[in-house]
């Protein structure tokens, strides 16, 4: 009998949407990707087109995962504050993509540094979600 119950139970577990912690991991992952791509670009070790495409992809994925998370925000974060952080994060990434396209290398470091600050804030929020589980 237990075996018959196990299959629907497994499927029910699998059918559930990603948890807030998993959504937060995705957000952290895309911000870190943008930072790493930016770091490689600062060292002039990747082609500009790759950097721009990766930054644009990070921005799209952040929009998508951020919207999902904010539909039912976990109690461990202040949703209004977090939404603002996400908007600012995305702004820095868009700014980096714009500067790459304009080949304005000297100005690139400023949004990249700012992105680092937001990355820390988001990681702290992610840790709060993890510890509240």
């Amino acid at each position: 009998m237990k075996r018959f119950l196990a299959v629907p139970l497994l499927l029910a577990v699998a059918c559930k949407p990603p948890t807030p912690a998993e959504q937060m991991d995705t957000i952290v992952s895309w911000i870190a990707t943008a930072r790493m791509a930016g770091d490689a670009s600062l060292r002039r070790t990747t082609p500009d087109k790759y950097t721009r495409q990766t930054l644009e992809l990070s921005d799209r994925m952040l929009l998508q995962s951020g919207s999902e998370l904010l539909k039912s925000p976990p109690p461990a974060i202040d949703s209004a504050d977090f939404a603002k952080v996400l908007i600012r994060t995305r702004f820095q990434i868009k700014e980096m993509a714009r500067l790459v396209e304009q080949k304005a290398a000297p100005e690139f470091r400023q949004p990249w540094d700012s992105l680092g600050i937001y990355e820390k804030i988001v990681k702290q929020a992610s840790d709060r979600i993890d510890s509240s589980r």
Binding site: V13, A14, T26, S29, A40, R43, T46, K49, Y50, T54
Partner: protein, 404 residues
Amino acid sequence: MKKILQLSLGIITSVGGFLEIGSVTTSAQAGAQFGYQLLWPLLFGTICLVFLVEMSGRLAAVSKHTVVGAMRERFGFPFFFVVSVGITIVVFMVLIAELGGIAFSLQMLTGIGFPWWALPVSLVVWLLMWKGTFSLIEYGASLLGLVTISFAVAAFRLHPDWAAVASGFLPSMPHSDKARYGFLTVSILGATISPYLMYFYSSGAIEEKWDRSYVVMNRIIAGFGMFFGGFLAMAVLIAAALAFQPMGIQVNTFPQAALLMTTALPKWGFYLFALSMLFACFGAALEISLAIAYFFAQGLGWNWSQNLEPSKNARFAFVYTVIIIVAAIPLMFGVDPIKVTMMSMALTSATLPFAIIPFLFLMNDPIYLGKYRNGWLSNAVVAIVVLLSFVLALISVPLEIVGG
């Protein structure tokens, strides 16, 4: 002297031809998410592959049969038909993934979107198949694939904690994400133990006219070549664990994977990754196209040889022409090669018993192998790893499909 040259070339091509999009993607994802914890399926898979490849070469050298030809003869057409449907679907998915890997590498190098590369890449693969000989395909592509040694250089330059690396070779369960861990385990096993390698290797042995005097050489090539190939996949996992895991990067897309070596090899890392993927996937796409054509031709009793003019084995050439063109279609519509890769690797694990267990029966048949048939060790190792991957696949593939 000729045999020493063949031996060296065999080992080098096994190393150069080991990595492909499946092994790189699964290893990178595993390292990024679970650190060194998933080194054990890579080790198990590599050991199993060493045995399987050695067996396929031994079968060809001793019985003068390819794996497919012998299975068709031993188990009959109905059995061959049922197995071929499953295996063809899975191997075809792997071909889509490999063509996608080439197209994505070109996107990284040029900035032109991968769907635009799908058709030109397929045409180049087809043209080489049409014009090239077996040696050109096997040795040429695999020698270019030696650029994948850069993954090992990157892993060493990141100075891993070797005690922690060693602990990854012992199976353990993570505290969270157990379903994902299971899915990655079967994907790694599927990426490592690819049945197409057996079909390709045994057909190659017949193409190169191996006989019983090649049994020892076959053992050395399979042992060293596959072991060092597996070592490169482990290097990818270690590099990903060190470059991505501390930053929290999950490797869900190709552009993320492309950053794998930018920390360890700042100046050339990006280009080495792109070229590694380009050549590794190119070699694998050629081998898979050839393996599918061999599979059909040997199973259905057609003329087959990559060394013959296409006009002399038209049906063989027709099979690879059709599959290469059809495989390009989903890529032209933007299907994500990484998603195809992950699913095809897990499905490979699920289909392994259907391809491998009958093969084990064959390898114990004195009619085909006489005194060269399998010992208990090779039977046990292969059976255990294949059944383990099958059970894990039965649990984790539905979870991954339903859970998205």
